[in-house]
C-alpha cells in the first residue's frame, strides 16, 4: 500500500538524512525537500516526500 512512513530527522548530510522510524533508523534521500534535524517527515521508498 502506498502509505508513507512517518519519521523524525536525526541528522542531515548533504542530500541524505538519517531518519528514525519509531526506533528503526534509515538513511534516506532528502534531495526534494530541505530538511533539518528534528523535522518530522513522510518517507516512501527511501525518499522524503513531505515535511509534516
Amino acid at each position: 500500500m502506498c502509505i508513507a512512513l512517518k519519521g523524525k530527522v536525526l541528522e542531515v548530510k548533504g542530500k541524505e538524512a538519517l531518519v528514525d522510524f519509531d526506533g528503526v533508523k534509515r538513511k534516506v534521500n532528502s534531495e526534494f525537500f530541505k530538511v533539518r534535524k528534528r523535522d518530522k517527515v513522510l518517507v516512501f521508498n527511501n525518499i522524503v516526500i513531505e515535511r509534516i
Binding site: C2, I3, F32, K34, L42
Partner: protein, 180 residues
C-alpha cells in the same frame, strides 16, 4: 523561512486519471480505515470509474504518495506529465520495491495484499471474479472488470482487478520469484 520555500518537489499532472485510479483505489480502503480519506469520497471515485464519469476530484492530493512517486518517475523518464506508461511502470514494476522497503521498516502490511501482480481470470460471477495467481486461486471484486473475459491476464491489487494486461507486462512480472 525562505529556504523552506525552495523545495524541489514539483508535482506533475496526472494525464490518465482513470488508469491511475484503477491502481490507487484499492489502497483507498486502507486510507479510510486510517482516517486519512473519507469513505464517501472513495465511493465517489469508485463510481466515477465504474460509470466512466469525469473525475473532478483532486486525486493528486487524495493519493499523495502514489502520485508523488509517479511524478518522480515521470521526471526520471523525461516526461512532463504522468501518462499511462509512467503509471504502469510505477504500479507494475517499481511499486514492489517501495512496498518491500516499507515492510522492512514497519511490518504492518501483508505483501500479498499490497503488491500488484498478474493473474488469469478463471470465472466471472455477478459480484466477484475468480483469478488464478502465483499465490493460488482467489476471488477479487469485479468493480473495474467491464469487457474482461475468461483467460484474460489481469493485474490484481488489494482485492481488486486493476486492468487487463498486455503479454509483455505479464512476462516481465512473472519473472519475479514471489508475491507473498
Amino acid at each position: 523561512m525562505i529556504w523552506r520555500m525552495i523545495d524541489m518537489f514539483k508535482m506533475l499532472p496526472i494525464k490518465d486519471k482513470e488508469l491511475f485510479l484503477r491502481y490507487a483505489i484499492p489502497c483507498g480502503e486502507v486510507l479510510v480505515n486510517r482516517g486519512e480519506l473519507k469513505g464517501e469520497l472513495l465511493n465517489r471515485l469508485n463510481e466515477s470509474i465504474k460509470n466512466k464519469q469525469e473525475i473532478d476530484i483532486d486525486i493528486e492530493d487524495v493519493f499523495k504518495v502514489a502520485s508523488r512517486m509517479c511524478s518522480l518517475l515521470a521526471k526520471k523518464m523525461g516526461k512532463k506529465e504522468i501518462d499511462a506508461e509512467v503509471i504502469r511502470r510505477y504500479f507494475l514494476l517499481e511499486h514492489e520495491k517501495a512496498i518491500r522497503w516499507r515492510k522492512q521498516i514497519k511490518p504492518d502490511i501483508r505483501l500479498e495484499d499490497c503488491l500488484v501482480y498478474p493473474g488469469k481470470i478463471l470465472r466471472i460471477d455477478p459480484d466477484k471474479v475468480l483469478v488464478k495467481t502465483k499465490t493460488g486461486e482467489k476471488f477479487f471484486r469485479n468493480d473495474f472488470t467491464e469487457g474482461m473475459k475468461k483467460n484474460d491476464w489481469v493485474s490484481v491489487h488489494y482485492g481488486y482487478i486493476a486492468e487487463r494486461l498486455k503479454e509483455n507486462h505479464v512476462n516481465r512480472m512473472l519473472k519475479r520469484r514471489k508475491y507473498g
